[in-house]
Amino acid sequence: MYNYDFLTALKIEDALYYLDRLEKVKILAGGTDLIVNIHKKSSRLPHFDYLLDISNIEELKFIALKKQFLEIGSLITHTQLIEDTLIAKYFPILKFAAQTIGSPQIRNRGTIGGNIVNASPAADLLPPLIALKARVELVSPGGKRELTLTEFLSGPYQTKLQENELLTTIKIPLLNEGYLANFQKIGRRKSLAIARLSLALVTRIDSENIFQDSRIVPGSATPYPQSFPVTEGAVNGKRTTDLNLEEIGEIIAKEMISITGKRWSTPYKSKALSALVIRALKEFISKAGTK
């Protein structure tokens, strides 16, 4: 049985105060994973003495357009991502990904910050956020630092978040003209589905119809979501008319296996991942063609 005290922070500074002075503090945000783990006494949950509820910190509930970034407060729920007009305008891929999460009940409580910090291999927001080169702002009593998501994630269910740090803001660099984005998810059913496999793909097709700056990030394919540089390299620099889609499909499957080794699920995932990348690229090519 867990024996802990419940702390409520209504301001960032309150949270930092507790994080600074107390040890073994677990942060509670939307709670869609943590509350289950506490209730079920999950062995995956490390021991803690304090549960710090940050879910009522209003300062962390914002979506703001800045000069170079769209900034999202870490307590923005999945529902808010879906309903927000700035997200719909600048990063509809995030809206699509958020729509595939769980159910309204989960989307109404679960937060973008929680999805990131939880760092599940199947986290639905991570592939698109990585593909969008999102950065996280971590605040501690000593100051703040910023990491790219790729730097922040360190393993399955592991991040570089320090014990006294709070994830406050997700900063997504605005994309210039010509960028395209696509998110696909395969589940075993149509709702309440954990991703069997997903793929976020962001790229730019330039005026010469050449792929530039491709970011290819599968979900549920690797121990934790990460970009696939080999596949990205194989796409970049290719003209839409010259891209050998079948070959890209083979490359992404090989790249996955190079990370994971051969697993029991590899025969399925390698084929399906090929299909997803081909499908995304085809869509981009047809969009570029109609321009």
Binding site: Y2, N3, Y4, D5, F6, T8, L28, G31, T32, I35, V36, I38, H39, K40, L51, D53, S55, N56, T79, G102, S103, P104, Q105, I106, N108, R109, K190, S191, L192
Partner: protein, 154 residues
């Protein structure tokens, strides 16, 4: 383990409670307040039987600690019937045979209610999205959708 003092408005009634840190909203409703209309089916937020409306939004009451929601307004299935008059959704569930065993029904009603609070004239697809977190093993969902549509179509 210190108890936490919480004020809530449940189905229009104000109450003050002292809760344990592990007490989930469903525990408060069912065990403490004996509002047993809210059902527990899975305890992991996957079945929707425990759905209530928290500050206007459908939530799984097994995924909320009561200590988190000081000052909140909660509507449960017991709060739908007002002054002996059924909510139109409740009446529609009766009229359209949207109920079989009845265990998922309170959660279904609360998800549907949350939808209609925000969007009184949803499409069929929007109804399905609003109810996608509520499992039903008896009805095959068909008559539930028909019931909700009967309320939302003019």
């Amino acid at each position: 383990m210190k108890k936490i003092k919480i004020n809530l408005t449940i189905n229009g009634k104000k109450i003050t409670l002292k809760v344990n840190p592990q007490e989930r909203l469903i525990d408060t409703l069912r065990d403490r307040l004996k509002l047993t209309g809210t059902k527990e089916g899975c305890s992991i937020g996957e079945c929707g039987a425990c759905t209530v409306i928290l500050n206007g939004k459908a939530v799984a009451s097994c995924l909320v600690f009561t200590a988190q929601i000081d000052g909140s307004k909660i509507l449960t299935v017991e709060g739908l019937e007002v002054g002996g008059k059924l909510d139109p959704l409740q009446q529609a569930f009766l009229d359209h045979h949207a109920v079989q065993c009845g265990f998922c029904t309170p959660g279904m009603l609360m998800s549907a209610k949350a939808l209609l609070l925000k969007n009184p004239h949803p499409t069929r697809e929007e109804i399905k999205t609003a109810l996608e977190g509520n499992l039903c093993r008896c009805t095959g969902y068909e008559q539930i959708i028909e019931a909700i549509e009967s309320v939302t179509k003019d």
